[in-house]
């Protein structure tokens, strides 16, 4: 026995096929709506991920620092007029940083901890000198905070003894090539002759000019911070958990703990606003598509009045008529979501060919995540079903005698 469609889908399909022009128009509307939503969602998700990736590519997710030093009132007479001068912050070590590092590493969600000593210095070569940030690190551990090996243009990202890694801008400014010598001088009078073992280009000219990586012990001695570190850099598994982890760490250590979400509050606000406006656009598109489906079905119910009456006279129940129109709505939504996803894929391909980054690579990948297609299909079918509800109920309520006479 061959497969035969049951009553409601059979009649729904025939009705849709019969109202050819209407069906095409409403399908086009639904397709367009789904395409806009899928395209926009995919585009914004990708662009946001890229922005976040680019920003976080050069900074740790969470940084632990010593508490800032503050002057306190000497005596507690509230009536006395007191002026408290803010104190200048000198370079200090994170107290018992090994313990803090162990505690941070054990915290769920933290994937890497790297101790760093940073302080100001001058890079001197011949008559030229440039102000730089001296970064004392353990190269192996730092790599898990910033993926430096990906940014190397010459040499390797490794520090040892007096071997250092500098940025491409600083190398250019001072005319330095790999294995050349470079002197760093510090405000406290110390200085050291470094040998350049690697040159990086991190994609940010300012950082390319400022960062000078040396070993942890060398930086400690140059900056008068023997055995100490100025901050602990952390990487977390889920970047949007960073703030929660920072808060927990602050509670556990009593130190200053900043997440990227605080240091880049503006970026985060921008991303959130973008998400909100994206949601707003999506809601309106869904509403318009729903109204479109509903209005076409309302017209179709009026046009099919006679057929509804005939079906009722032949014994079709109200529920059967209701199903016929609900299925029409759901079908339009489902087919529209498939066509819309295809259209969105086409748009993504087209726009990724047009829009390119500064380096010529595509601004975004022309790919469609399956979960977006599944989601779009579910939402569109649901919206189709919901918008068919009013017309379908009207059809079901129709009096067969009136319907046949019309």
């Amino acid at each position: 026995m061959r497969f035969r469609l049951p009553f409601a889908p059979l009649v729904a399909l025939r009705f849709l096929r019969e109202g050819r022009m209407q069906t095409l128009l409403i399908l086009a509307g639904t397709t367009g709506g789904v395409a806009v939503i899928v395209f926009l969602t995919q585009l914004i998700t990708q662009l946001q991920a890229q922005i976040v990736d680019r920003v976080l590519g050069t900074q740790p997710h969470v940084v632990i620092r010593p508490l800032e030093e503050a002057n306190r009132r000497a005596f507690d007479d509230p009536a006395a007029a007191v002026v408290i001068e803010p104190r200048a912050q000198r370079l200090r070590s994170v107290d018992q940083w090994e313990n803090v590092a162990r505690l941070a590493a054990a915290m769920p969600g933290v994937t890497a901890v790297s101790p760093t000593v940073t302080g100001p210095a001058f890079a001197v070569r011949g008559q030229a000198n440039k102000s730089v940030a001296l970064m004392g690190i353990d190269a192996e551990r730092y790599r898990r905070i910033v993926r430096m090996e990906e940014y190397m243009v010459a040499g390797r990202f490794a520090v040892d003894g007096t071997r250092a890694v500098i940025g491409s801008e600083l190398a250019k400014d001072l005319g330095i090539r790999l294995e050349d010598k470079l002197r760093v001088a510090l405000p406290n009078g110390r200085d050291e002759l470094l040998q350049v073992g690697g040159i990086f280009d991190i994609g940010n000219k300012d950082l390319n000019r400022r960062w000078v990586f040396v070993t942890l012990p060398l930086a400690q001695s140059l900056l008068d911070l023997p055995g100490g570190v100025s901050n602990l850099d952390l990487t977390v598994a889920d970047i949007f958990d960073a703030q929660a982890i920072a808060t927990r760490l602050q509670g556990a250590t009593g130190l200053t703990v900043d997440s990227w979400m605080q240091t880049n509050a503006q970026l985060l606000a921008a991303l959130r606003n973008q998400t909100v406006s994206n949601n707003l656009i999506r809601s309106f598109v869904i509403l318009i598509v729903a109204l479109g489906i509903a209005s076409v079905l309302v017209v179709s119910v009026v046009q099919k009045q006679k057929e509804i009456g005939i079906l009722r006279a032949m014994g079709a129940s109200r529920a059967m008529i209701l199903q016929v129109f609900l299925i029409q709505g759901a079908l339009v939504g489902a087919v529209g979501s498939i066509l819309g996803s295809l259209l969105a894929f086409g748009l993504l391909n087209m726009f990724s060919a047009i829009y390119r980054n500064a380096d010529g690579s595509p601004l975004f990948a022309a790919q469609l995540e399956p979960r977006f297609i599944v989601l779009a299909a579910l939402v569109a079918t649901g919206v189709g079903l919901a918008s068919a509800l009013i017309p379908a109920r009207r059809a079901a309520k129709m009096d067969p005698v009136q319907a046949i006479r019309a």
Binding site: R4, L5, F7, R312, S317
Partner: protein, 229 residues
Amino acid sequence: MNAPVIELVGLTKAYNIGTPVEAEVLHGIDLSLAQGEFAALIGPSGSGKSTLLNIIGLLERPSGGRLSIGGRDTAALPEAEITALRGRSIGFVFQFHHLLPAFSALENVMMPTIIARGAPDDEAEATALQLLDAVGLKAHAHKKPAELSGGQQQRVAIARALALRPRLILADEPTGNLDTHTADDIFALLRAFNQQTGCACLIVTHDPRLAARCDRTIQLVDGSIASAG
């Protein structure tokens, strides 16, 4: 005498009940139709023929009195059962055939069975083909109603009315818009099925020639039965 297929006792129908323009169109109709009876319902326009037919066909509910179908009082039945009873026991033939334009002749004939069983099946198709064969349209089974002539459309409608072997066929001027020759054909077809299957037929007609060929003529004047053969 067989048990009555339909029985009406003191049946009334009024519109706009309780308003100043209340209008009673049927006043206390008493009527019964036995199994196998072939009756004509005649009367001038506006006498309430169509309303009576719609009430007997369970498309409208009476305002008063009693309507029994196959011995079952319909007044107490809920909407869903009325619908099911209508589908199972009554076949309609309308003046303007009222076929579904989106479906082929065969599918139109299958439709009552599809509705009753929820889905089409091979048996329904075989029965529908037999019926189309019986009305002489087997060759046109896969044509849409629009591709058929008026007489052919009405024959499809008759085949459809017979699909579920109903106890009662109600025909509202089935030959009203057909030429005399075709009208005779259609009438003969109804008569033949009536004799073969033993279903009762109630045919509304304006044509005294056709009415004279029925077993019985029921005359309706101003909402009351003037003569019931």
